[in-house]
């Protein structure tokens, strides 16, 4: 049952995400609209995008608190995700041993950053005004995922070894269910369902900023309109 659900969720996520990305990639950029000063070479543009994605340069100029919360959340989530790879591979490389503690600290940081971002959204007048229910929902969902994860680390420990064995076997059977022998096991199921929910809404929500930023013409265009004719594909000849 759960496997079946998982396949549906993954299909929706992958298909949805990729179809949005293809839509962005397919849509033409008729004119050069880079926000200047902009790099004058392709390499420069790659550097601009990489630093923008890693360090949130523009947001740093715009809003220091949002930047701090955003960097903390995304950075922590990246570490948490890397740590989670261990649940999907067997045998687990030695490298994951020392990562455990770092991952748990990152989990706490992630929940903290999310709480901060939620608080910021509630407290600051202008940010509160522009927030829709969906904006809160995404934050709350992410926070619930982080909290249920931490809960398993500190309070309700599920039988993770059994779960992993079970999960690894599950991918082949449509009817499989993880063990539900303790509150910890139930928490795990909840954690998994919340992640599934996040993946399902991903392609249909603002979470698409994850892939979308690479298609932002103001950031990904080379500033060379005089040197090289930029062709508008739909212009009449």
């Amino acid at each position: 049952m759960l496997t079946f659900l998982a396949y549906i969720v993954l299909t929706i996520f992958l298909f949805g995400f990729l179809s949005r990305i293809f839509a962005y990639a397919r849509s033409p950029a008729p004119l050069k609209i880079a926000t200047t000063p902009a790099p004058t070479t392709r390499l420069g543009v790659i550097w601009r995008l990489v630093t923008e994605v890693l360090f949130f340069n523009s947001l740093f100029k715009g809003d220091k608190l949002a930047w701090a919360g955003g960097i903390a959340f995304h950075g922590a989530m990246a570490v948490v995700l890397i740590r989670h790879i261990r649940y999907f591979i067997d045998p687990v490389p030695a490298f994951f041993g020392p990562l455990q503690i770092i991952g748990i600290v990152a989990g706490i940081a992630m929940a903290g950053a999310l709480a901060f971002l939620l608080l910021r959204r509630l407290v600051f007048e202008r940010v509160r005004y522009i927030s829709s229910r969906a904006d809160y929902l995404v934050l709350i969902l992410l926070l619930a995922i982080a909290m249920s994860g931490l809960l398993m680390d500190f309070v309700l420990r599920p039988n993770i070894v059994a779960i992993k064995t079970n999960l690894m076997a599950m991918w082949g059977s449509v009817t499989g269910l993880p063990p539900l022998n303790s509150l910890g096991d139930v928490t795990f199921l909840l954690h998994l369902l919340l992640v599934g929910a996040l993946l399902v809404i991903f392609p249909f929500s603002k979470l698409m900023h994850a892939g979308g930023i690479f298609f932002s013409p103001t950031r990904n265009q080379v500033d060379n309109p005089r040197e090289k004719k930029h062709v508008n594909p739909w212009a009449a000849p």
């Binding site: 949005r20 033409p28 000063p37 947001l59 979308g212 212009a235």
Partner: protein
């Protein structure tokens, strides 16, 4: 003069507390059939306007990656909420860039996303109805497309792209803005925004030649439609008739004269401005810009130089090549097109001009970066040349230069409040409030550094500032072009020419 509310100018730019609807009353004058018909836009609102509007949005989503991506990926982080000069000046929630874009995003969600179709209340989706259209017409004409918000957005979301799309959709259903559409009509009819016919233009240029002869004793020419000139100069038409614009025009002429490079103005393409951009119309931009290319060929010039005008430089620099290029019939040794500041700067570098800084000793100068030049173009080979080259020209022309607060210049510069097709009297209340951040920074250097001249390179900025600064008690004479300073300082005679 009507009774306008002029905001109090504090020591520093302060973010106002949020209000709703403070500017809801200020919609621009609608265009009538007289203005819309010649553009191929419906003369009045079409019957099935809701359906047509949504269809047009769908069409634009397929034509503009910017629109498609920017409507999707905003995370509502709020970084832009205190960046727009109109928000800072009015406190109206819909003048926060994210909220302005939300006017279109809510419609986009309703008709183009599964979430908006199924859960409109959850995700803030709205029907394209009378109320929404009313807000569109009002608030998409309270954005000057200055792109300041796009600098601070973590994804580079550019509200100008959304405003342009909104105006294009409204034009497609017969809901146009009189000012912009009427002006485009004049360009097609007479070659320029001001509607100056050829005889009047000729008369003006002759008058200016006499004026320069009287004041300097030198026979500086301002030729019109002269075939075989080296350079076609394309200036904003305001340069021919308005103060202080005309001072810069005389400056350009002196530079050409002293460099020994022949140039001509074209009566057919007597306009650098291109309001096609303001209404988001690719076809209009192309058609307007085409006049310039046709004239460059007809007059057999080798180079194209563009005068002091912000959005005109954006269209020329970033779009001309795409719209009507390539310019392979021009002299490949020079950028095509070239900004008049690049042109003069290059001559100074090569030692072709002598400038007497003391001629401007009465001035303590600051520089206002015009939004389109700053955030949508470049000058010279290096990124950021659009900031350095005009400043270099000022420093070469006068002894006292000081910059305003760094958060209000270069890429963070504030719009003058009159750009994007909003330089019209019925929007005066908005223009006065929108200039407040710039005035705040200007007043500071006026007090701290005794600045008494704000140089700039945009026809719209010049027109806007000379009109609204006096309302803040700042004399209009304080504003002028960079080439006005060059004009004062340039030494005529003792001919050096090109080295």
């Amino acid at each position: 003069m009507a009774d306008y509310h002029v905001p109090v100018v504090a020591d520093d730019i302060k973010t106002p507390s949020l209000q709703t609807g403070t500017m809801a009353h200020l919609a621009p004058y609608p265009a009538t059939a007289k203005h819309m018909d010649p553009m191929g836009f419906p003369g009045e609102r079409v019957e099935n306007w809701q359906q047509k509007g949504v269809e047009k949005l769908g069409e634009l989503l397929k034509k503009y990656r910017s629109l498609q991506v920017y409507l999707d990926i905003c995370v509502k982080c709020g970084a832009c909420t205190d960046k727009c000069h109109y928000y800072l000046g009015t406190g109206d929630a819909n003048n926060m860039p994210v909220q302005r874009a939300e006017l279109m995003r809510s419609v986009y969600r309703r008709y183009f996303t599964p979430a908006g179709k199924m859960f409109p209340n959850l995700v803030n989706a709205a029907d394209f109805d009378e109320e929404t259209l009313g807000k569109w017409f009002t608030y998409f004409h309270q954005c000057s497309q200055c792109r300041r918000c796009s600098v601070f957005c973590p994804f580079g979301i550019d509200t100008a792209e959304i405003t342009m799309a909104a105006r294009e959709i409204m034009n497609a259903i017969g809901v146009g803005h009189k000012y912009s559409v009427e002006i485009i009509g004049k360009v097609h009819q007479l070659g320029n925004n001001l509607g100056i016919p050829k005889p009047a233009l000729k008369g003006t240029l002759e008058f200016l030649e006499e004026e320069i002869l009287d004041s300097t004793g030198h026979d500086v020419r301002l030729p019109l439609d002269q075939e075989g000139a080296d350079v076609l100069l394309v200036a904003p038409s305001a340069d021919f008739f308005s103060e202080p614009h005309i001072q810069s025009l005389m400056g350009y002429a002196k530079v050409f004269h002293q460099a020994g490079i022949s140039f001509t103005i074209s009566s057919y393409a007597s306009e650098a401005a291109n309001f096609g951009m303001f209404i988001g119309s690719y076809d209009q931009q192309k058609k307007i810009a085409k006049r310039v290319v046709e004239q460059a060929r007809a007059l057999k010039v080798k180079r194209l130089v563009v005068g002091e005008c912000g959005h005109a430089w954006r269209v020329a620099y970033a779009f001309w090549n795409t719209l009507n290029g390539p310019f392979d019939f021009l002299d490949p040794r020079y950028p095509a097109p070239q900004h008049i500041c690049e042109f003069t700067h290059d001559l100074i570098q090569r030692g072709a001009l002598a400038l007497d800084k003391e001629a401007n000793d009465e001035y303590r100068v600051t520089f206002h970066d015009s939004c389109n030049v700053a955030r949508a173009t470049r000058m010279g080979p290096k990124a950021g040349g659009q900031f350095e080259i005009p400043r270099d020209l000022i420093r070469a022309s006068c002894n006292h230069f000081v910059d305003m607060d760094e958060d209000t210049i270069r890429e963070k510069t504030f719009c003058c409040g009159g750009g994007g097709g909003l330089l019209t009297d019925e929007l005066m209340d908005l223009r006065i409030r929108g200039v407040q951040p710039r005035v705040t920074a200007l007043k500071r250097v006026m007090e701290s550094d005794k600045v008494n001249f704000m140089a700039l390179i945009c026809a719209i900025c010049k027109a806007q500032f000379t009109k609204v600064l006096p309302m803040y008690g700042i004399p209009m004479e304080m504003v002028g072009g960079v080439h006005q300073l060059v004009s004062n300082a340039i030494q005529l005679g003792a001919k050096k020419g090109i080295v």
